[in-house]
């Protein structure tokens, strides 16, 4: 679905490569999480997938990016936009309308969604983002998190083959963050939408993503199943990425000689770990 081969990119005026020799295959129906330190090149990588680089942002581009069979350098950004929906990190730059409803409508009409379907799509995606009551509000008067939800709803309404999200939950409250990932999961599982999401909340990635890519200094330093990537805690820490607290707990328990099993990735697995530790105590 997305094939990146030997991709390097340097912003014009930049002193070093923002991306260095990245190769990555993302299959149809994958749910890929991208994590890494600030400045690692995560946003730039999303730009390479949606064609912002090299079409809107100039620089030195080497290598090849093929999305849904289209070479991103040859295909125009409008053509790419029919396949890839993006939620940018800077959502203020993304919004084009002044009223919430229009923001969704604008995208749906541009995308060529049949008129009979538009109303139900708007209703559904506003409800999924938990902002039905904001429908006729002026975007300029929304809180940070409310705006972020509008940007997410607007892309989800389009139901593109691929959705790329750049730190979509940065300003969301904890329950809303989870709800966004639950909605992504259902789009992924039920409609086969390919999801690529940059996210700092490792806990959410561990629970929802199938694969994890770790970036550092413009390079892809680790990529694979979440469980496998998580095992190399030192490498993650070296890249400025934290491990979930339950993984830290596993480490502490190992150090005390109380536990020797797998590193838990989420709360459920952590509960099993604790029960094991405590039952050993019973014998």
């Amino acid at each position: 679905m997305i094939r990146i081969k030997g991709l390097s990119f340097r912003y014009s005026g930049g002193v070093k490569n923002a991306l260095s020799d990245i190769s990555l295959d993302i299959g149809k129906g994958d749910f890929l999480g991208i994590i890494g330190a600030s400045g690692a090149g995560k946003s730039t990588l999303t730009y390479a997938i949606n064609g912002v680089v090299p079409h809107y942002i100039r620089g030195d581009f080497y290598g090849e990016v093929v999305v849904s069979g289209l070479d991103t350098v040859k295909a125009g950004p409008e053509t790419l936009a029919r396949h890839v929906g993006s939620v940018l990190q800077d959502i203020d730059g993304q919004m084009v309308s002044s009223v919430v409803e229009d923001e969704l409508l604008f995208g749906l009409e541009n995308f060529g969604v049949p008129h009979g379907e538009i109303e139900s799509r708007i209703e559904e995606s506003l409800a999924a983002a938990g902002i039905s009551e904001l429908r006729s509000r002026d975007i300029g008067t929304l809180s940070g998190g409310q705006k972020q939800k509008v940007a997410i709803a607007a892309i989800m309404a389009l139901r593109p083959e691929i959705i790329v999200l750049d730190e979509p939950t940065g300003e969301l409250d904890p329950q809303s963050s989870r709800r966004v990932f639950e909605t992504l999961r259902s789009l992924n599982e039920e409609n086969g939408v390919t999801i690529v999401v940059v996210e700092q909340k490792i806990m959410l990635l561990c629970e929802f993503a199938g694969r994890l890519a770790v970036m550092s200094g413009g390079k892809l330093i680790s990529e694979g199943r979440v469980k496998d990537v998580l095992m190399d805690a030192d490498k993650l820490e070296g890249a400025g990425v934290n491990i979930p607290r339950v993984a830290t707990l596993a480490r502490l328990l190992r150090k005390k000689g109380l536990y020797s099993g797998d590193t838990p990735a989420d709360l459920r697995q952590a509960e099993a770990m604790m029960r094991e530790v405590l039952s050993d105590a019973a014998v």
Binding site: G36, S43, N242, D280
Partner: protein, 271 residues
């Protein structure tokens, strides 16, 4: 240091600030938490006089915000906006910090010296253009520029949003050092781990009302309050609640490992 007395604030939209009262004493570190749209950023703007209460009173360092100018308040109060781009306006990092110091330090030589110190403390390259930096890097610059003024009261609206883990640790380290040096802090955050690690007191805002005000340790276990404000406990307290018993008061991974060790030893001894 910061007092709200029965404060109301209205907007055309449904949600406002209603009946909010609290008193933040000198040297306290409080987190302001609550769902999107709860009114946290609005409350922050009421603190520094950018907004005035419709009724009730807000007092900052002894000044009533309704009667004193915002620049007077700004002399004691550092304010970080939710979006760093609302704050940055110069084309170099150096210029940005110098600009931020204009009110605080009148002597240009001293301003230069302080700017140098801050650039070093934050490991920033003064020559860079903030707008060619990543979001996390820009956030770093905005925070550096506020801390340069050494405010007595710091109002931080989501200081770690857009930061990676390492930066989050660095920034929170700086903030907690300021706190140990006596700075009073009110911090909005959606990251309950940051709240549990650093704040002592939590103010929970939901639909414009203060629905809880107490020790972080206690609020992170209050399912009813957390649910009402669309919050979730951090992983370790959530795990502690699942395990129960001796663990129900645990807040951090260290505490949990120690409690487990104790439990294992006790059972071993009994055997």
């Amino acid at each position: 240091m910061l007092r709200f007395e029965n404060v109301f604030f209205y907007r055309e939209s449904a949600n406002t600030i209603s009946e909010v009262s609290f008193d933040l004493r000198e040297g306290e570190f409080a987190a302001l938490i609550g769902e999107n749209g709860a009114g946290k950023s609005t409350l922050c703007r009421l603190c520094n006089g950018l907004l005035k209460p419709a009724s009730g009173r807000v007092t900052v360092c002894g000044h009533d915000t309704a009667t004193v100018s915002t620049s007077r308040i700004a002399r004691d109060t550092g304010f970080l906006f939710q979006n760093p781009d609302m704050q940055l306006c110069q084309n170099t990092v150096y210029g940005e910090i110098m600009f931020g110091l204009e009110y605080a330090l009148s002597d240009p030589e001293e301003r230069k010296r302080r700017t140098g110190e801050i650039l070093e403390l934050f490991s920033l390259d003064g020559g860079r253009d903030p707008f060619s930096m990543s979001r996390g890097e820009r956030q770093h610059v905005a925070l550096a520029s506020i801390l340069a003024c050494k405010p007595r009261l710091l109002i931080l609206d989501e200081p770690t949003t857009g930061l990676d883990y390492r930066e989050c640790v660095t920034i929170m380290g700086i903030i907690s050092r300021l706190h140990s040096d006596g700075t009073t802090i009110l911090m909005v955050s959606h990251d309950m781990e940051v709240v549990a690690d650093f704040a002592v007191r939590a103010l929970v805002l939901s639909k414009g009302r203060l629905i809880a005000d107490g020790p972080v340790r206690q609020i992170m276990k209050d399912k009813k309050v957390l649910d009402e404000a669309s919050l979730l406990p951090p992983q370790i307290p959530a795990l502690a609640m699942l395990i129960g018993g001796d663990f129900s008061d645990v807040l951090t991974a260290d505490e949990m490992a120690e409690t487990a060790e104790r439990a294992v030893r006790q059972k071993g001894a009994r055997k």
